[in-house]
């Protein structure tokens, strides 16, 4: 396997004397920092923590479903476990995953700025996340919540005696953390670009974050007011969603999915940005159809706001609106397909190498395509009635969210790890982890498509015995998947001290972030860069580095 890694001579290589990591020391310098890079690291630590809590919940679910009977957990405990898994993974891992960590770290550097436009609001966003996280942990400690992550009314408002109010408020607060991140990105991308950094010289990573930020800023407030109404209905007893007072539970569904469908694109779009960067770098080619990929991100953001009712086809919306929403759902597949085709065309005749980020990116391409296409199945009205509320849905969104977004997140973490820490991760074991993740993932979730198609409903603690074989496959796969996720935790931590010194540009990539030292200075650039080349211009890079002697230290 050929590689393009160009590390400095390891016998003489030293980390830079001054970087954002060692400019200041002590806990206070981290907790009161305004530096987007440090906040990104704080976010990375906190979302990893919640990822493994959510993962433990997933492990419990898969253990429970190993047998057809509810013999490990009581039924209501099972409800609490899958609710906690959903809430934590969606609101505390997937939504902030790429934007708040990698995006936070890179967007100012990619546009050539010293920091995000509002560093204090950025820090506030992290504190809101932590506050929401603590509320969520309180919910788990004091008896859990069993509404499902969707807070469906009137179940959540009338029929449950669990911590719905605290959980709702936790999501409300986490939502504001997300709004502030999105707002910061939009202002930074509009107002902080370096001289010469035109919109069409921005890396596609920035474009996809811009689109996701629009969704965060416009969608999240609607979720916030919806949760306020649910909380008021539980505490005071106002009746907006209560049929006995004339309220309408379907209105809750409309308002909730008005956010929560775009939230799917909040989760996936930043991942698509990572994939654009990784695929371009490891096939040494400009992303094919740059403009199309850039605009397809915006198109996904726009279409994403007009498809929400496809979550409600069986809930009694009118046939005509179901028809329109079905059509719009098919339309949103078009910009996603544009991206997939353009990435495939980028690979065509590229000088492809198979470093770990690229392996994850290939995983993304395959799994996201399956997840996306099954989404089109579910968007067609007849199929949806058969498949909705079955494991087919579960498999579909796990292919998109885990197979797509989590693969993209891990691709991004590996790709930018040398930039964030200044050290390389160990290549061999990380390739193994990437392959393990892929195998484990397919083994876990592919059987669920079959199970769902055969009619196994989701959210039940028990199932008919004839479904056991496929469930055992799925649980076995989950074990492999768990190992695939634990490995990076171990070797990335190991590499913090023992990894090879990376140097500024180990991948010979073209982005602005690769032209500065690793880890970067607190203000990113020694002087404001003047951009004269397009993104992914490998000839420019070759000319620039032709006579350059790499010095580190």
């Amino acid at each position: 396997m050929s590689t393009i890694v160009s590390l400095p001579d390891q016998s003489t290589a030293r980390l830079p004397k001054v970087s954002y990591l060692n400019k200041e020391y002590g806990l206070k310098s981290w907790l009161l920092t305004g530096d987007h890079k440090r906040i990104a690291v704080l976010y990375m630590i906190s979302i990893t923590f919640f990822f493994f809590i959510g993962g433990a919940m997933a492990a419990l679910i898969r253990l429970q479903l190993l047998t057809p009977y509810s013999d490990l957990l009581a039924e209501d405990t099972y409800n609490k476990v899958f609710t906690a898994h959903g809430l934590i993974m969606v609101f505390f891992f997937l939504v902030p995953s790429v934007p708040a960590t990698i995006g936070n770290f890179l967007i100012p550097i990619m546009v050539g700025a010293k920091d995000l436009a509002f560093p204090k609001i950025n820090l506030l966003s992290w504190y809101l996340y932590v506050a929401a996280g603590i509320m969520m942990l309180c919910v788990l400690t004091f008896g859990g919540v069993d509404t499902g992550w969707t807070f469906t009314t009137p179940l959540s408002t009338h029929y449950l005696n669990t911590n719905v109010v605290t959980a709702g408020l936790a999501v409300f607060v986490a939502g504001f953390s997300s709004i502030f991140t999105g707002l910061n990105f939009i202002v930074t991308i509009h107002r902080m670009r370096a001289p010469g950094m035109t919109w069409f010289r921005l890396p596609l990573f920035v474009w996809s974050h811009y689109a996701a930020s629009i969704l965060m800023v416009l969608g999240t407030p609607v979720l916030a007011i919806t949760l306020v109404l649910v909380v008021l209905e539980r505490t005071i007893g106002i009746g907006v969603f209560d049929p006995t007072k004339g309220g309408d539970p379907l209105l809750f569904q409309h308002l909730f999915w008005f956010y929560s469908h775009p939230a799917v694109y909040i989760m996936i779009l930043p991942g698509m940005g990572v994939i654009s960067e990784v695929i371009s770098t490891f096939s040494r080619k400009r992303v094919f159809g740059y403009t199309a990929v850039a605009f397809s991100s915006v198109a996904i953001a726009v279409f994403g706001f007009f498809v929400w009712a496809h979550h409600m086809f069986i809930m009694g919306i009118s046939n005509y609106s179901a028809l329109v929403f079905s059509l719009l759902t098919m339309l949103v597949a078009v910009p996603s397909a544009i991206k997939i085709f353009n990435w495939a065309a980028t690979l065509y005749k590229g000088s492809i190498t198979f470093e770990t980020p690229m392996l994850y990116a290939f995983g993304f391409l395959g799994l996201f395509t399956i997840g996306g296409l099954t989404g089109v199945f579910l968007g067609s009205l007849g199929m949806d009635i058969h498949l909705t509320e079955t494991y087919f849905i579960v498999a579909h969104f796990h292919f998109v969210m885990v197979g797509g977004m989590l693969m993209a997140y891990l691709a991004g973490v590996h790709f930018w790890w040398p930039k964030i820490t200044g050290r390389m991760y160990p290549e061999g074991v990380s390739r193994l982890a990437a392959v393990t993740t892929f195998i484990g993932f397919v083994l876990t979730f592919f059987p669920q498509f079959v199970l769902g198609y055969l009619g196994m409903p989701r959210r039940y603690a028990a199932y008919p015995p004839e479904f056991q074989v496929l469930n055992v496959f799925s649980s076995a796969g989950a074990t492999v998947l768990g190992i695939g996720y634990l490995l990076p935790l171990l070797y990335l931590t190991w590499s913090l001290k023992y990894g090879k010194i990376a140097g500024p540009n180990p991948w010979q990539a073209t982005g602005l972030e690769w032209q500065i030292q690793s880890p970067p200075l607190t203000e990113n650039f020694e002087k404001t860069p003047i951009v004269t080349h397009e993104a992914y211009d490998y000839e420019w890079l070759a000319n620039k580095t032709k006579n350059e002697v790499t010095t580190v230290g």
């Binding site: 100012p108 700025a113 010293k114 920091d115 995000l116 436009a117 509002f118 560093p119 609001i121 709004i179 707002l183 910061n184 939009i186 202002v187 930074t188 509009h190 107002r191 902080m192 001289p195 010469g196 035109t198 010289r201 800023v217 416009l218 969608g219 999240t220 407030p221 609607v222 916030a224 007011i225 919806t226 306020v228 109404l229 008021l232 209905e233 005071i236 007893g237 106002i238 009746g239 907006v240 007072k245 004339g246 309220g247 309408d248 209105l251 308002l255 008005f258 203000e523 404001t528 003047i530 951009v531 004269t532």
Partner: protein
């Protein structure tokens, strides 16, 4: 414009670039960029606020269409004088806030403080009137979930003798009207309380001499927020108080 032109244009030493006032944050190139970024951020934040209230207005629209008689009857129980008084207070406070921004622009500290104080007083006045109204509704058993009674709506309202009493099932639907009334005015009042709190902080800083040294962005952006909260009320007042007045 090609890149060289942009580079040349920005690299040209604009007057502002050599000015390095204390309030210029380290990550901005110049004062103009900082001010533009802050204002743009504020507008975006107001956009999120529109979406926040948008969910409520959407619910109002739907339920008003479904339960028209209940919404008329509910609307008839509100004190139109209180709503009008509050609207007046808010419009005047928007004017005084605009004057405060102007005072900051021309760097006059005393008028700035004076206009800010008047704005705070008007904001508090609004909240007092609102509190009086809520108390009144509590006394009349109009709070859904806590002490609601449909008695008043199944009989003719003496102030509107032409109104027919509602059938009991429609009278129940007045709860939806009051739910929306309390959530909408409550969320608006919450924004007012936050606004008065922020303005008090700005006032303390302005007393110490901030905002009259050319750094007006906080006052200016707070002004935007204040006007926004005002505009929300400008929509709430007709929707809740006026729209069914002559039916």
């Amino acid at each position: 414009m090609d890149s060289h032109a942009i580079a040349a244009q920005t690299a040209e030493p604009a007057q502002l670039e050599h000015e390095h006032p204390a309030f210029l944050r380290h990550h901005f190139e110049n004062v103009a960029q900082q001010r533009e970024a802050a204002t743009f951020g504020m507008w975006l934040f107001l956009l999120t606020e529109i979406m926040f209230f948008g969910g409520l207005f959407c619910a109002y629209l739907i339920f008003r269409n479904w339960y028209y008689p209940a919404f008329v009857a509910g609307s008839h129980t509100l004190h139109i004088w209180a709503g009008t008084l509050n609207t007046t207070l808010l419009i005047i406070s928007s004017f005084t806030m605009a004057m405060a921004v102007h005072a900051a622009e021309v760097r006059h500290r005393t008028p700035l403080l004076r206009w800010m104080i008047i704005t705070i007083v008007l904001g508090c006045g609004f909240l007092c009137v609102k509190a009086y109204e809520w108390h009144d509704e509590w006394v009349n058993h109009h709070v859904p979930g806590l002490n609601f009674s449909i008695r008043e709506f199944t009989h003719t309202n003496p102030a509107y003798p032409a109104d027919k009493p509602l059938a009991p099932d429609m009278a129940e639907k007045t709860q939806i009207y009051y739910s929306l009334y309390f959530v909408m005015t409550g969320m608006h009042a919450l924004h007012m309380i936050i606004g008065v709190g922020l303005l008090t902080i700005l006032l303390i800083r302005a007393r110490a001499g901030a905002f009259t040294n050319g750094h007006i962005a906080p006052v200016e952006n707070f002004g935007l927020y204040w006007h926004f909260v005002d505009i929300v009320w400008i929509f709430l007042f007709p929707l809740l108080y006026l729209i069914s007045r002559h039916q």
